[in-house]
Symmetry: C2
Subunit: 193 residues, 2 copies
DNA sequence: CGCACCATGTGCGCGTCACGCAATTTCTAT
DNA sequence: ATAGAAATTGCGTGACGCGCACATGGTGCG
């Protein structure tokens, strides 16, 4: 892995960040999409084993904490694309990278529902998915070597949008199709043949 | 116009909504992208000539008020596409509709900068642009008569993303190219030839 | 033409939150 | 082992979101 653990200190703090995020999402799921107001900062902090003030050092809103996992996942989009072999076409590489990134384990239905289907979280959820765009655009630009200057960013945005739509689709009741399949179909509409 | 003025009462309340939104955006611009915290609810309400409590009846956060104009504009995307003649191809129709919608007057640079370049507004800004997706997807579905079930939503998301990217591009310092031209180029990357 | 009705505007008050500040604990590096 | 930085924490403050109740004004009925 290219992850050289960076700093041991940094690692530790990322661990607590994850702990807080995980606790926040878990509590939110327990209360359901309509009881988000009942998830108090105090409870999140307690569940994560930190002080409320510390929670606030890592996140500046409950929504941010709840969506942290999704956001962190999206941030890895660039790395995922770069990990694809150079032999693949851009479309193949993006498709494979995105599918691998978002289905490493099949996502948690409850968690994704909470994030994508709760109105109060809409803004944070969009931020979380949109976070993939920057890194992804950079990685695309590297692969295409200055195609059009707008192409990488636009494609990245389209891909992020396709992922979101695929997620919504996968969450619809009575969907047995695996997420990867839906994702592949969604991406086929925005990527060059 | 299909706008039948609906109700006179409704009209009035939409007027105050606009007034509040306009006031919020104006005050935000005055303070610049770094002084958003200084834009108090009290000031917005005062500038709009309503009570702070009334402001809160229309918007549940400052960001929502500031981005209201952009959000309302995006909501008209479906209508804009439906207004295109049936003879046009889907790509032509979408391109024309989007350009017309977002450049009816050339957008206000200060306002768009505030919305798109202020970190605290990122979530709300994304919501504002994403609001075009639903209506747009419906309108696309009507034009294509059940192409693929994912196609309309994915395309709408890609278009909304392209608009966002085009906006960012247009805001970059030293850009003299008209927004419509950038928009057209951006859309060409996500729409079928 | 008047009356009852509903939507909107407003004042008040409560609970929560985000965050600056400063003391304290914890951990790393030499 | 020790100096020093980073992280955790407590406290205090200002603002906010919103429920509640009341006033007001436009609307549609009889």
């Amino acid at each position: 892995m290219t992850d050289e653990t960076a700093d041991l200190r940094t690692r530790n703090s990322q661990a607590t960040r994850e702990a807080i995020g995980h606790a926040a999402l878990r509590l939110a799921i327990e209360q359901g999409p309509n009881g988000l107001a009942l998830v108090r900062v105090h409870d999140i902090a307690a569940a994560a084993g930190v002080s409320p003030r510390t929670y606030n050092n890592y996140f500046s809103s409950r929504g941010e904490a709840i969506c942290a996992f999704q956001a962190d996942q999206s941030k890895r989009a660039g790395k995922a694309l770069r990990a694809r072999p150079a032999g693949e076409s851009l479309t193949e590489a993006i498709t494979a990278a995105v599918i691998e990134l978002y289905t490493d384990p099949e996502p948690d239905r409850a968690g994704l529902s909470m994030i994508m289907l709760t109105p109060e979280l809409e803004g944070e959820a969009l931020k979380a998915f949109t976070m993939a765009e920057g890194p992804l655009a950079d990685a695309i630009a590297e692969r295409t070597d200055g195609d059009g200057d707008l192409f990488p960013a636009v494609t990245a945005a389209a891909v992020a949008g396709a992922v979101r739509v695929a997620g919504r689709r996968w969450l619809e009741p009575g969907t047995s199709e695996p997420f990867a399949a839906i994702l592949r179909r969604a991406l086929s509409h925005v990527l060059p043949d």
